[in-house]
């Protein structure tokens, strides 16, 4: 195999599973170490630089990092990465002084941001320190987008959101709240140097053709509209018997909110089998914890009315069947079921809708009525208009919106400086030896055998009585430390120098997880078939080095390396070293020279 090019940024980045999986590439293990050292403010700032909303995300993130976490490959459960992020937010000190300063002297470029959700706010945060003049337009009375209108307060307290949205609004953009933009042309005509569209995916799907839909309209609500009405206090109550249709996270938020607004008999009814519901496992758990039944394999067939009033819904029971390609079809069993209800919340998905964008101003739309957007630069076919967040490629989540925002900000900056938006800045990386002494490392290299710690919850009765009471209480400092110790420090890389290796096998012998091999060269399939331990996870690279005296190669399967440093401790010649790999997504081009926030992980 070709020897690994460890200077290539993505080589070691892939080893840091959580960071690699995070759309914004948050340096997770670095902040987890800071938390273990009780340096919460620095942990917070490190997060803030990457993901802009650590307090929000520490409570609500979709956490793609956790299924990716290496710990989950050697033990049952991953590190509670998301909840540790919240610890940083909960225990930090006042960090305002460390936030970037905004130049008095503006750079003369004006940018309009449509929407004040996470995507647009990220663009604002990345551009404001460069002296851009920003105008933010949002139909809502306050900033935050769906984070404010959709995510219920019992998952995300308003104070947390206000604080983090506030950091950005304090950077001085001009805000135009309660301002629905009904024409993109009118904005473009204002002569902005660039326009960012971060208007989300605001349309909830309906069941327009289901019998009874029109007649029962007053008792049927579109989930996301209803949640927004609850958030802005236009809706304060709901009927006692509530059916929530759908199996995604919106359905979970709807049913739990309904329970807090007076529903006594709230159930979720979903077409697909329970295991295939779109909702995250933990969101389902939370609903079940609140005793909400989830009835699966039921396809709605009719809204049933009596004397003009909704009294229930009828469903066809189905069974999931799979063809040879694993494609699912829901086959009716012939059985029909009736469930009584007073009101129905329809939470069966969202889609993009751009009624306010004229189709003749140069923005191309595809056959699904979505704008054509470049996946790297986020530029539309009208060069000065950029898209990001749910508006760009359909509904995703907050962290994806943030990641889009960073990239769009880079593009906008490049565009406004007259440079090509295709010249993307490389990530900033470096490798720093963690050796302090012959066998001492700057990081806690021992691998704790603890199981994942559980986040305590508020008393159920109290929580259900107050829709604003946060259900999750967060880790205390002591538990946070123990959970932080579960992290395997995947960013502390095993770096090999073949020139120093005497092939004594000490590293291969000591390695607890049999990662290291000295063997004859071969192609990847051949090698993977004959390493010391089964090597089947192809998402993880083989680290290959040649130049050994015997002509063999060193082949390390990165898959379940524990980063315990024993290989480097047992190496007599220092051919192995543990080096911390720093990988930071470069933010708007000019920030290359001046990092948004300066954080040094100190030694010891």
């Amino acid at each position: 195999m070709r020897p690994s090019d460890i200077a290539e940024p993505e080589h070691f980045h892939k080893v840091v599973d959580c960071q690699y999986a995070c759309p914004a590439h948050t340096p997770v293990p670095q902040y987890i170490r800071l938390i273990a050292q009780q340096r919460y403010s620095e942990a917070y700032l490190l997060n803030w630089e990457s993901n802009v909303f650590p307090g929000v995300l520490g409570r609500t993130c979709d956490r793609p990092c956790e299924p990716a976490c290496r710990r989950g490959r050697v033990e049952e459960e991953p590190v509670a990465i998301c909840r540790l992020k919240r610890v940083a937010a909960d225990f930090k000190e006042d960090i305002k002084a460390q936030l970037p300063t905004i130049p008095e002297q503006k750079n003369g470029k004006r940018v309009a941001l449509i929407g004040a959700g996470p995507a647009a706010l990220t663009v604002a945060r990345d551009l404001a320190p460069l002296g851009y003049q920003l105008d933010i337009y949002d139909a809502q009375p306050k900033g935050g987008g769906f984070m404010r209108s959709q995510i219920p307060s019992f998952r995300l307290p308003a104070a947390v959101l206000d604080e983090e949205v506030g950091y950005i609004l304090d950077m001085g953009p001009t805000t135009h709240f309660n301002h629905y933009v009904d024409s993109l042309k009118s904005i473009v005509d204002k002569g902005y140097d660039a326009v960012f569209v971060g208007s989300g995916a605001p349309r909830g799907r309906d069941l327009p053709n289901l019998p009874g839909r029109q007649e029962a309209d007053s008792d049927i609500h579109i989930g996301i509209d209803w949640l927004a009405n609850v958030a802005f206090e236009h809706t304060k109550a709901i009927g006692e018997k509530v059916i929530v249709l759908g199996g995604g996270n919106t359905a979970m938020d709807c049913c739990r909110t309904a329970l807090r607004l007076g529903g006594t008999d709230v159930k979720v009814i979903v077409r697909s089998p329970f295991d295939e519901m779109k909702a995250s496992a933990w969101e389902k758990e939370d609903a079940i914890h609140e005793d909400i039944p989830i009835i699966d394999n039921h396809v709605p067939s009719e809204f049933v009315l009596e004397s003009g009033k909704l009294v229930g819904m009828r469903f066809d029971k189905v069974e999931a069947q799979y063809d040879d390609n694993g494609k699912r079809s829901l086959v009716p069993t012939g059985e029909q079921v009736f469930y009584p209800c007073d009101q129905v919340l329809v939470a069966i998905g969202q889609e993009n809708a751009f009624p306010w964008i004229e189709r003749d101003i140069g923005i191309e739309f595809d056959k699904w009525e979505c704008p054509v957007v470049d996946a790297t630069s986020f530029q539309s076919t009208l060069p000065q208009v950029f898209f990001g967040g749910d508006a760009a490629f359909g509904p995703k989540n907050v962290i994806t919106a943030v990641a889009h925002g960073h990239q769009a900000a880079i593009s906008i900056d490049l565009f406004c400086q007259g440079e090509s938006v295709l010249q993307r800045p490389a990530p900033r990386t470096n490798l720093i030896s963690q050796k302090m002494n012959i066998h001492d490392w700057t990081y806690d290299n021992g691998v704790a055998s603890d199981l994942r710690y559980v986040v305590p919850l508020a008393d159920k009765q109290q929580a259900l009585a107050d829709r604003r009471l946060e259900v999750e209480l967060g880790f205390d400092v002591a538990t946070a430390y123990q959970e932080a110790e579960r992290c395997l420090n995947c960013d502390v890389q095993t770096v090999f120098d073949a020139a120093n290796c005497i092939e004594c096998d000490a590293c291969a012998d000591v390695c607890p997880t049999s990662c290291i091999n000295f063997t004859a060269d071969g192609d990847e399939d051949d090698l993977r078939g004959r390493l010391n331990a089964p090597s089947t996870n192809r998402d993880q690279v083989l680290y290959i080095a040649d130049g050994l005296k015997t002509g063999r190669i060193m082949a390390k399967d990165e898959n379940v390396c524990l980063h315990c440093g024993l290989c480097a401790e047992r190496c007599p010649t220092g051919a192995w070293d543990m080096q911390q790999f720093n990988y930071q997504v470069t933010k708007s081009a000019e920030l290359l020279a001046v990092p948004l926030v300066q954080i040094q992980e100190s030694v010891g």
Binding site: C504, C515, C564
Partner: protein, 350 residues
């Protein structure tokens, strides 16, 4: 400095036929110098016992004094162990074996422990064909006492101290052959492909199995002037490659192709020849083994692999017709047969 190894192991590694995981054969984290050959020998023992489906509690590890004799602390942590006096491992092993012939005896020693202070004991345990595996982790020096030349140091070899050794070296394989061992092999700590199957075969051999494992002392004797350094052994090793033909209950295989010649070009351009398969060796003949050892010695290479094996081996118990089972299984009446039996014995001397 780490004092413990993580308890996590590769999740896809399967247990052996007895249901034991490899971890069940491991021991404490080594305190030897980083890179010591002895640690690789320990890893090979772990691998061999795991693969050979040996029950850890059926093994007794017995050793003398030295870095090598310390190594039983770092493997087979669930087995029995006796760290005895310098050079006296054979007597302790003999006693234990006499008391309980059902155990698997694994003696671990060093070149100092066996070829200097314990040379007499070494000779006699060979003669008795005690059923055990006797391994010497041979680094050509007294590692534990800071690297003095040992009795296996070759003439002219110089350790870190820099002074060439003037005395004739003892070849422990030749000695074992001379003294009556019924399984004799030599290997290298850096060659597990050879060493692991040899250990597996030796553990099954009924009688005295001896393996001399060249195991470099990275701290005191891994110099360019030493004949027991990693580089020297690699460059001068010649393997018999005979391991594949051992007539055993279970087939034991290595990755070597007998009779196949290997050429490895080193970074400095020199070429190392590895002769896999010595056509002139008959592994069932002591004379042939002795001749092969001597021939390679005179050619400046070290012959490794299986050198000799006696398929008709009869161990000490068989030779002296001792009791068939462990003494601990004897009931009270057998252990204290009473006055009548004593009188009969006394009468036989009259």
């Amino acid at each position: 400095m780490s004092y413990a190894k993580s308890t996590f192991r590769h999740p896809a590694l399967q247990p052996n036929a007895l249901g034991y995981s490899k971890r069940d054969y491991e021991g404490g984290l080594s305190t030897l110098c980083a890179g010591c050959g002895h640690d690789s020998v320990g890893a090979a023992i772990v691998q061999a016992c795991f693969e050979a489906n040996i029950e850890p509690h059926k093994v007794a590890k017995i050793s003398g004094i030295g870095c090598s004799s310390k190594t039983p602390a770092y493997f087979l942590g669930k087995s029995h162990g006796f760290n005895s006096v310098h050079g006296r491992m054979p007597s302790v092993a003999t006693g234990a074996n006499m008391a309980n012939r059902d155990m698997i005896y694994l003696g671990v020693s060093g070149d100092g422990d066996s070829a200097s202070i314990g040379f007499g004991q070494f000779a006699h345990v060979n003669r008795r064909n005690l059923n055990m595996l006797y391994m010497v982790e041979n680094n050509g020096c007294y590692g534990l006492t800071k690297g003095q030349d040992s009795a296996t140091t070759d003439v002219g070899s110089a350790s870190k101290k820099g002074v060439a050794n003037p005395f004739t070296a003892i070849d422990l394989c030749a000695t074992a052959l001379e003294m009556g061992a019924t399984f004799v092999a030599r290997s290298f700590s850096g060659d597990k492909e050879q060493l692991v199957p040899l250990i597996k075969a030796a553990l099954r051999h009924p009688g005295f199995a001896f393996i001399d494992v060249l195991s470099p002392c990275v701290t005191f004797n891994n110099t360019a002037t030493s004949t027991k350094s990693y580089d020297y052994v690699r460059e001068h090793a010649a393997a018999t490659g005979a391991i594949d033909v051992i007539p055993m209950k279970e087939e034991i295989t290595t990755d070597y192709q007998p009779g196949h010649n290997h050429e490895v070009t080193l970074h400095d351009g020199s070429v190392v020849h590895l002769y896999k398969g010595d056509v002139e060796l008959d592994v069932t003949s002591r004379d042939s083994a002795q001749a092969a050892i001597r021939r390679h010695q005179s050619e400046g290479s070290v012959l490794t692999g299986l050198l000799y094996m006696d398929p008709q081996s009869r161990d000490f118990h068989q030779m002296v017709n001792s009791i068939k089972g462990p003494l601990r299984d004897l009931g009270e009446s057998a252990l204290c047969p009473g006055q009548t039996a004593l009188d009969a014995i006394n009468a036989s001397f009259r």
